[in-house]
């Protein structure tokens, strides 16, 4: 290959990147990192600001070098936000490059973390997912279902038994979510039954019901 982006383009493509030296001192960070970790400056020890959640290693140059094939989860100690990405070791320069982005599936949390949608690069799917989930949030009230949680890119809702009659033909149903955002991204709904105690706001069961493709 003959092409490589310049530093400015690199920063635009990877606004959440980190460059860490052999002593695990932060040497450079993407433009969105200071918003996420207020007050962070180059020259600070990596471990003061981040904890490696996955893989289960101590953050040393050698340990990271051994785990370059692993997906990394870095926890920002300031606010608990998880950055998911990969670590590359530049052996000749004895530097570690982390490229990744925050794992956030709820748009309302962005502000809390000092971020906006424009902090995410276009090639990152996090913003799309957040937007899709916001759309689901606005829809579920109409159907008397309760959002349990999002699990990765799954959006989980429950309905109590026989809460209302089934919508007739032509009524709104799973098709509501199918039209959004574009045909290429059709969600695959699955549904199931749970025969445990009735769900209540105080006592939530998280047993995954038997999945039945809709």
């Amino acid at each position: 290959m003959i092409y490589s982006p310049g530093t400015e383009q690199f920063a635009l493509l990877h606004p959440f990147h980190l460059v860490i030296d052999e002593q695990m001192v932060l040497r450079q960070m993407g433009p969105a990192i200071p918003q996420l970790v207020p007050g962070l400056r180059a020259g600070e020890p990596f471990a003061n600001r981040f904890q490696v959640q996955r893989p289960r290693i101590q953050p040393t140059y050698d340990a990271v070098r051994a785990m370059q094939r692993a997906a990394f989860l870095l926890e920002c100690l300031a606010n608990g936000v998880i950055l998911k990405g990969q670590m590359l070791v530049d052996e000749p320069r004895r530097m570690i490059l982390f490229v990744g982005s925050p794992v956030i599936d709820d748009r309302t949390k962005l502000k809390e973390y000092g971020l906006t949608l424009s902090d995410f690069p276009m090639h990152d799917s996090t913003a799309d997912l957040m937007e899709l989930f916001s759309h689901f949030d606005s829809l579920i009230g109409e159907y008397g279902v309760e959002k349990i949680r999002t699990i990765g890119d799954n959006y989980m809702v429950v309905a109590p038994p026989a809460s209302r009659p089934c919508p007739g033909p032509g009524a709104h149903g799973p098709g509501d979510v199918r039209v959004y955002p574009k045909p290429a991204a059709l969600p695959k709904p699955t549904s199931g039954l749970q025969d445990g105690p009735q769900l209540g706001s105080g006592h939530r069961r998280r047993d995954r019901p038997q999945e039945i493709p809709v």
């Binding site: 959640q53 996955r54 893989p55 289960r56 290693i57 051994a66 785990m67 094939r69 692993a70 997906a71 990394f72 989860l73 998880i82 998911k84 794992v103 699990i151 990765g152 799954n154 445990g196 069961r205 998280r206 047993d207 995954r208 999945e211």
Partner: protein, 186 residues
């Protein structure tokens, strides 16, 4: 520990020894639990207790039981909703082992309470590799040889697994020498 592991133990012991033997193992180790649920969290000592009770009731060593649980686990995971994940874990055994950590990280993202172990490979050649295993739990390392053989079965690959470093003997983490046929690399 999520119930999935306890359910795998139930599946294995029921298959091998019948329902009534399983029932007495469960009554001994987890008398208060009617049935295990995949996504429910259970105390760690429930899992340990099931293995110990199984060893006592069947008269077999706990390490052997753990080894069998490991071997059973891959197939169980495949049948219980994780088949799609296992389909994309790699195209042969060494590749799958190399991706094992990555797969656990993805699952950990979906289930924040999950505290999965880490795996990585070194000394990889055509016929063998060293698999490193690091868990915050202790005592489950005997599952690994079985689990690797079970994973090998997904690729029609016979694997032999020998522990070469053990945390119990003071090593930093457990290590296993995995050998497999070269034809599985295709």
């Amino acid at each position: 520990m999520y119930g999935m592991v306890n359910l795998a133990i139930e599946g294995l012991l029921t298959e091998r020894y019948g329902h009534s033997v399983w029932q007495s193992i469960k009554d001994k180790a987890a008398p208060g639990i009617d049935r295990f649920l995949t996504m429910e969290q259970y105390p760690e000592d429930v899992t340990q207790g099931l293995v110990v009770a199984a060893a006592e009731i069947t008269g077999r060593p706990t390490d052997e039981i753990l080894n069998e649980i490991g071997e059973y686990f891959t197939g169980y995971a495949q049948r219980s909703g994780h088949g799609e994940l296992l389909d994309i874990i790699g195209s042969n055994l060494p590749e799958a082992l190399d991706n094992l950590d990555n797969m656990h990280t993805r699952v950990a993202l979906a289930f924040p309470d999950l505290r999965p172990p880490s795996f990585w490979c070194t000394d990889v050649d055509e016929h063998s590799l060293i698999l490193h295993y690091l868990s915050e739990r202790s005592g489950l390392a005997p599952m690994i040889p079985g689990a690797v053989r079970g994973l090998g079965r997904l690729f029609d690959t016979e694997a032999t697994v020998r522990q070469v470093a053990s945390r119990e003997d003071g090593a930093d983490h457990d290590q296993f020498l995995v050998t497999f046929d070269a034809k599985s690399q295709g």
